[in-house]
């Protein structure tokens, strides 16, 4: 019983963090699916989302607002707007002018964007950790009579539910809406989509904006979960989410979701049963292992070179 509770606790922690990774990973995978390149500034967009949410929460609290749902919704909307604008700007500045050139060029310009955004936040907000107010407190406790107590906090439930809603809306958008249909067409054959009269530039912008909006949601959620943000907040999360996207098969949206969950669970299992120091070793080791046996990732499709 104790073991089961302990295991469940690790599973819950893993799924919480994993679903947030999945939200960020979608941004990587969608951009890759459309233009075949990695958006290296994505982690920073996530970080800026977290900062914006924090600023909004602080501002609203200072104004004397106390109704929690309103604060959260306003913070979420602000974060989404600012991050989406950033995502759009990254594409305009770092990708569009060099599109169609050698693949390394947009890669370098995106890394440049990433360094710029990180240092901009350094300057504007300082390099120290800033505490995130604990807004959602409490939770359920199980098995309190024994030695180990399993807890499921309201914050974790919020992360699950929000991620679930985002994923559902995104899946519906991609499979049902006209813009989603155009996104799929552009990702399969950009040239042909353009010939059929689809404005591919708009679709590419939309992809960056959607990815950035989801990263902003993750920024708010993980900021609250960890309780603090700093300018390097996006670096390691971006790396993890990128790993999740590759693990699941880059270019595949269900793959990003799955990859995020697997990564999150494997991390928390390692922390729980081995040691916290080993969690990155295990998650990146897992990535290497999966890529050895399935180079396109779990749900990725084998890339067929177009003639």
């Amino acid at each position: 019983m104790q073991d089961l509770l302990y295991f469940s606790q690790q599973l819950i922690n893993g799924l919480t963090i994993g679903s947030a990774y999945a939200l960020i990973a979608i941004g990587y995978t969608m951009v890759y699916g459309i233009i075949g390149m990695i958006n290296f500034a994505h982690g920073e967009i996530y970080m800026i989302g977290a900062y914006t949410a924090l600023i909004a929460i602080t501002g609203l609290t200072a104004l004397g607002l106390a109704w929690l749902p309103l604060i959260l919704i306003v913070a979420l909307v602000c974060a989404i707007i600012v991050s989406s604008t950033m995502g759009w700007a990254v594409e305009r500045v770092a990708y569009r002018p060099v599109r169609g050139r050698h693949r390394l060029i947009p890669l370098i310009s995106a890394i440049g964007m990433s360094i710029f955004l990180q240092n901009y936040v350094h300057l504007a907000q300082g390099s120290r950790n800033i505490g995130f107010p604990l807004l959602i407190e409490g939770g359920f406790k199980f098995g309190s009579d024994g030695h180990f107590e399993m807890s499921l906090s309201y914050m974790q439930i919020t992360i699950f539910v929000t991620t679930l809603i985002c994923m559902t809306v995104l899946s519906l958008f991609i499979s049902r809406s006209r813009t989603g249909r155009a996104c799929r067409a552009v990702s399969q054959d950009l040239g042909m989509a353009s010939l059929l009269g689809i404005d591919t530039n708009r679709i590419i912008s939309a992809t960056f904006i959607i990815g950035a909006a989801l990263a902003a949601v993750a920024g708010l959620l993980l900021g609250m979960y960890y309780g603090s943000v700093d300018p390097l907040f996006g670096f390691i999360a971006g790396l993890k989410a990128f790993t999740a996207a590759v693990l699941g098969g880059i270019g595949s949206i269900p793959g990003a979701m799955l990859g995020g969950l697997i990564l999150g669970v494997s991390e928390s299992m390692t922390s729980g049963y081995l040691s916290g120091e080993y969690k990155d070793v295990v998650s990146f080791g897992l990535l290497i292992l999966i890529l050895l046996f399935k180079p396109t990732g779990l749900l990725g499709k084998p890339e067929v070179e177009k003639i």
Partner: protein
């Protein structure tokens, strides 16, 4: 309707197309033929906005279109196919036709989320048009299959249907019969003729096999090694000495 004047295209030291001219009237099927490597596809690529020609003019309904981006040209009503089929293979057959009507649709996301009457009405119209063309090319039963699972002949017909739902004025087909068996080719030729007769579409056709285009073309342009060789009705082309030489070699 379409007028190509002295079109030239140079790739570095190679003059792939040299002073080619052709014109297409309304409701006319014009073929461009020539041996492999004659520059036929290059002419097409210039016309559809894939390449920016290095010389000459392309007038569509009196407006210069050379060097314009491809999606602009297709919005004017000139659409093309490729030598190899380029369908969205991981989308269903009907989705291929819907996505081609993207620019006719209301893409307002808010309208889509709310399902406004206008949004739904246009979606319905697009579906109706897709169903009409699927019926027309005999693919209605396969509407929900992935386009990649169709046979090659079916994919060719779907590609033409996908062009037609955009309501083009001019259809540019690059070797539409490539890879088809004689029966499928016959079917395709009938389809092309009916596009002209029933839907008032002009067609420009590329083919390297002369026999295929003789029956359906109103006029034929022959190019060889990037240069115009002859131009006229199928009958005139059949008897043209230069053409016979280019195709069969000199005695």
């Amino acid at each position: 309707m379409l007028e190509v004047q002295n079109l030239s295209m140079r790739f570095g030291g190679l003059l792939a197309v040299d002073q080619v001219s052709l014109n297409v009237q309304e409701r006319e099927i014009v073929s461009i033929i020539g041996p492999n490597g004659a520059g036929k596809t290059t002419v097409f690529n210039c016309m559809s906005g894939f390449y920016k020609p290095t010389g000459g003019k392309i007038l569509f309904e009196g407006k210069e279109v050379q060097g314009k981006p491809d999606y602009r040209i297709s919005r004017l009503g000139m659409v093309r196919t490729f030598q190899h089929v380029r369908l969205f293979t991981q989308m269903s057959v009907v989705e291929n036709l819907l996505v081609a009507q993207h620019r006719h649709l209301n893409t307002n996301m808010l309208a889509g989320l709310l399902g406004t009457p206008n949004y739904r009405a246009r979606e319905q119209k697009a579906l109706d048009r897709a169903a009409y063309w699927l019926e027309r090319v005999g693919l209605l039963e396969s509407a929900n299959r992935d386009a990649g699972n169709l046979s090659y002949g079916q994919q060719r017909r779907l590609e033409i249907a996908r062009c037609m739902v955009t309501e083009p004025k001019l259809l540019m087909l690059d070797e539409p019969a490539a890879g088809l068996n004689p029966a499928e080719t016959q079917e395709l030729n009938q389809l092309i003729v009916s596009l002209k007769e029933d839907y008032n579409v002009s067609v420009v056709l590329i083919e390297h096999d002369m026999s295929l285009v003789m029956d359906i073309s109103d006029r034929i342009n022959v190019i060889n090694q990037g240069r115009p060789l002859a131009c006229g009705t199928p009958e005139e082309i059949r008897q043209n000495d230069d053409v016979i030489k280019a195709y069969l070699g000199e005695e």
